[in-house]
């Protein structure tokens, strides 16, 4: 029975993890930057309205609450994408190991 090539297996797994995290980060970065910038712009806009007495404290509070809810959704998206990335890395690693096992000891695993 052939032995598993552990150094090669490790190399493949790390390469997959890097690729998966990098792929999702390149999508996540512009999204996060855009949303955080928009949040800052809205906060500035509301502060200016208050400064010019166009809105009062009560309205400022209500409108900031809307910004908070929106930001919560952005953070939930980032959390969810992180979980999905982790899931893809784990399943990808399982796939690499399954493939290595198949080629060395010829057992097909249900992955």
């Amino acid at each position: 029975m052939a032995a598993l090539d552990f150094p090669q297996l490790l190399k493949d797994c790390i390469s997959l993890a890097k690729q998966e995290v990098g792929k999702n980060w390149s999508k996540l970065k512009p999204f996060a930057e855009h949303e955080f910038t928009q949040f800052a712009e809205s906060a500035q806009f509301l502060a200016e309205l208050r400064l010019k007495n166009i809105i009062d404290d009560e309205e400022l509070k209500v409108r900031l609450r809307f910004q908070q809810m929106a930001l919560n959704n952005v953070l939930l998206a980032i959390k969810g994408i992180g979980l999905k990335t982790a899931e893809n890395v784990v399943n990808g690693v399982l796939g690499i190991v399954a493939k290595a096992i198949k080629s060395t000891i010829n057992i097909v695993l249900p992955v």
């Binding site: 997959l16 998966e20 999702n24 999508k27 999204f31 949303e35 928009q38 949040f39 712009e41 809205s42 806009f45 509301l46 309205l49 010019k52 166009i54 809105i55 209500v62 409108r63 609450r65 809307f66 910004q67 809810m69 929106a70 930001l71 919560n72 959704n73 952005v74 939930l76 998206a77 959390k79 969810g80 994408i81 979980l83 999905k84 990335t85 982790a86 899931e87 893809n88 890395v89 784990v90 399943n91 990808g92 399982l94 796939g95 190991v97 399954a98 096992i101 000891i105 057992i107 695993l109 249900p110 992955v111």
Partner: protein, 147 residues
Amino acid sequence: MKKNRVLIILLLVACKVTFITGYDPVIDDTATKMKRDFNMMMLKLAREVQDNDPANQAFTNYQSYYDNLETDLLILRDRSVYTGLKGEIVRKQIKNADSLLTGFMNLHKQGFADRPGDDKRDFRNAVNSALNSISQLQEALKSTGKE
């Protein structure tokens, strides 16, 4: 000993993991549609709350938009029920977007006064962010990590 090690590896490898619920095209499409409808409505509203006619931005003039919105929110709420045990993040996102849009609708019902300089862009940004976040997560949920 070696046999045991191989068995442990086999057992580990045979389990695919799921940390988060899968992609739902209905949630994705509905969020995209809601974003388009909301922005179209806001273009009109932003104009009307800055002119000198306090009557044109009345809630009743936007009834058709809000009827559509309530239907879309109903679809999202229903879909969120089927996201399963791993769908908590998606459910929270939908609940947030629901609160945000329902809150905006209630403010509109109370009436928006004409106020030059206040085009309500903060509401537009907030709703866009909330809906973008849903679409962005759904897009990520499509991936399997194998492509």
